[in-house]
């Protein structure tokens, strides 16, 4: 079984995930000359082969999506593969181009990918409809997957190709005439998926001025700070990369503390991978109670500072 990863930067996480169920892992990378030079020997991220499409800085990677899809269609004509991309918007445009060009199925909300018993094809376990159901599906030919979480399979694939040893093929591809005409940099996106501990803030917090109290709790816990959707959209207290939910980030570390979050399905589906969920809420009927391991029922304005102090003391080695 072959895997192809579509990316705009080296993707060792996706390569490692693919290696758990595929025999060969190859990467199709769309990047600028500077990005390629900066990656150096780590270009492949452990994959067995890299195909590089170099773009000019004023060409968005999406300009090459159709060309990449046409090229990959040729390579996969006789060899179905699992085509993988991450969840970012550019990754999805690349993946969609391939899926549309090949007319192949797409699977999102992937839980695990294994080899189907007795087949040279993957068995893909996935959530349906924000996680109210789940199913396992086997593609008949090529399949496109969005892998938001690395390390999905339980199979043993090839070990990673050491850096610098994967053959690099340069693909001359014709872009569509999309052009970046202006660009203002912003704060780099927070990647909550990598955080071992996350504190989430919801609409229970009355004012943006109260956020420092939440930052203090996060700092005490050594946690990253995220939020529920309304605080990133509409209220604009947080950038969109901080919002945890079905169409936002999926956190999956050891601890998630949801403060003033009611626990709607849309939000909780972004927390399924977490080991321990704690909530602070004043409503005993809130859906989050059943979705958490521990809920402190009460006023978050009193509880959060108390919890911050108790956590600081415990982590400093004191008795709680």
């Amino acid at each position: 079984m072959d895997a192809w990863i579509l990316a705009t930067r080296p993707a060792p996480d996706l390569v490692a995930a693919a290696a758990t169920f595929a025999d060969t892992v190859r990467v199709m990378l769309v990047a600028t000359a500077d990005e390629l030079a900066a990656a150096g020997a780590d270009l492949s991220g452990g994959a067995g082969q890299v195909v590089v499409v170099e773009r000019a800085p004023q060409e968005p990677a999406e300009a090459y999506a159709i060309a990449v899809a046409d090229d990959l269609a040729g390579r996969l004509a006789d060899r179905p593969a699992v085509v993988i991309a991450g969840p970012g918007p550019t990754d999805r445009v690349l993946l969609g181009a391939v899926a549309g060009r090949l007319g192949c199925p797409i699977v999102t909300s992937v839980l695990t990918v294994d080899r189907a018993p007795g087949e040279d094809r993957p068995a893909i376990a996935r959530r349906l409809y924000n996680g109210i159901a789940q199913a396992t599906e086997m593609p008949q030919g090529t399949v496109c997957l969005v892998l938001a979480d690395a390390g999905t399979g339980s199979g043993s694939g090839t070990t990673a190709t050491p850096a610098g040893q994967a053959p690099v093929e340069r693909l001359a591809a014709a872009p569509l005439p999309l052009r970046v005409t202006a660009s203002t940099p912003g704060a780099p996106a927070v990647d909550l998926r990598l955080a071992e501990r996350v504190v989430g803030v919801g609409r229970g917090l009355a004012r943006a001025e109260d956020l420092p109290m939440m930052t203090d709790l996060a700092t005490a816990l050594g946690a990253a700070l995220g939020c529920s959707r309304p605080l990133a959209e509409g209220l604009d207290w947080f950038p969109k990369s901080s919002y945890i939910g079905a169409s936002g980030t999926h956190v999956r570390g050891g601890l998630y503390v949801a403060v003033g979050i009611s626990g709607q399905l849309q939000h909780m589906v972004g927390t399924r991978g977490v080991d321990t969920i704690v909530a602070i809420n004043n409503d005993p009927e809130a859906p989050i109670v059943a979705e958490s391991d521990y809920t402190i029922l009460g006023d978050l304005y009193a509880i959060v500072p108390a919890l911050t102090a108790a956590v600081r003391q415990a982590r400093a080695g004191g008795a709680p």
Partner: protein
């Protein structure tokens, strides 16, 4: 210029019931237009007004998406007319089947310059329908689009999008598919005039007879309710915040969660 805005008429999974075999019953989850689709419709309407373009609404789903409750909801939010692929045979259409069918509908509408979609659907949030339509059609595509306007040279459109926290402005050649960011616009709330006008706008319904489902390409091996591990659901009274904090910290410490 002709603009198509694609939207989904679907229920909120929060209210759906699921059998032990994973079968989903949507009876208690009445369908609506997803809120992100409403954003796309607003962006589309404003662009159509600015350019004098015709705006065609496009949707796909079971037969009821072609019925009055659904078509009026869509037509009161901006489109000049509607094409609805409405057939119970489409009820279980996958992401790739939906994209293929919508792309074919765009071809049949003819002379379409721009397709706008929402960020994601309420029920599946796959976020891939727009990009896959673009792949089928061979068109340019961008996601997370914050604004769209006619390009100054008259060639294509000018788009802004959020990228890694910053913003980019791009020129995009037509035809193209653009997936609007979830906060690209605040959708108007249809007024009485919009609702009354909706009843007069043309609706074309297409069924599986005219647009058959392409092969799904997936075999379902199993389905069930979710395997999500049940949470403990322990509650700790918070009237004494310090005591509650101590209790929680002790529990987390014992579980090895708080090192």
């Amino acid at each position: 210029m002709r603009i198509v805005v694609a939207y989904k008429w679907a229920g909120n999974p929060q209210h759906a019931d699921v059998g032990p075999d994973g079968a989903v019953d949507w009876q208690r989850a009445p369908a609506t237009i997803g809120e992100y689709d409403e954003v796309a419709m607003e962006v589309a309407r404003r662009l159509a007004d600015a350019t004098g373009a015709e705006l065609v609404g496009l949707t796909l789903g079971p037969a009821h998406v072609g019925e009055a409750r659904s078509t009026k909801a869509a037509l009161s939010r901006g489109p000049d007319r509607l094409v609805a692929l409405a057939d119970d045979g489409y009820a279980s259409a996958s992401t790739s089947q939906t994209a293929a069918l919508l792309a074919e509908a765009v071809r049949r509408i003819g002379e379409v310059d721009l397709v706008l979609t929402g960020d994601s659907s309420l029920d599946e949030a796959a976020k891939l329908t727009g990009p896959t339509m673009a792949g089928t059609l061979g068109w340019a595509c961008l996601a997370e689009v914050a604004s769209v306007s006619a390009a100054q040279g008259g060639d294509g459109v000018e788009v802004t999008r959020v990228v890694d926290g910053g913003t980019q402005t791009l020129t995009v050649p037509l035809p193209a598919v653009l997936a609007c960011a979830s906060d690209a616009a605040v959708p108007r709330i249809p007024g009485m005039k919009d609702v009354l006008a909706a009843a007069k706008k043309p609706v074309q319904v297409l069924t599986c007879a005219e647009l058959p489902l392409p092969p799904v390409g997936l075999t379902r091996l199993a389905a069930s309710r979710p395997d999500t591990p049940a949470r403990r659901g322990t509650t700790i009274p918070g009237e004494d915040p310090q005591a509650a904090a101590r209790t929680l910290v002790a529990a987390l410490r014992d579980a090895g969660t708080l090192t």
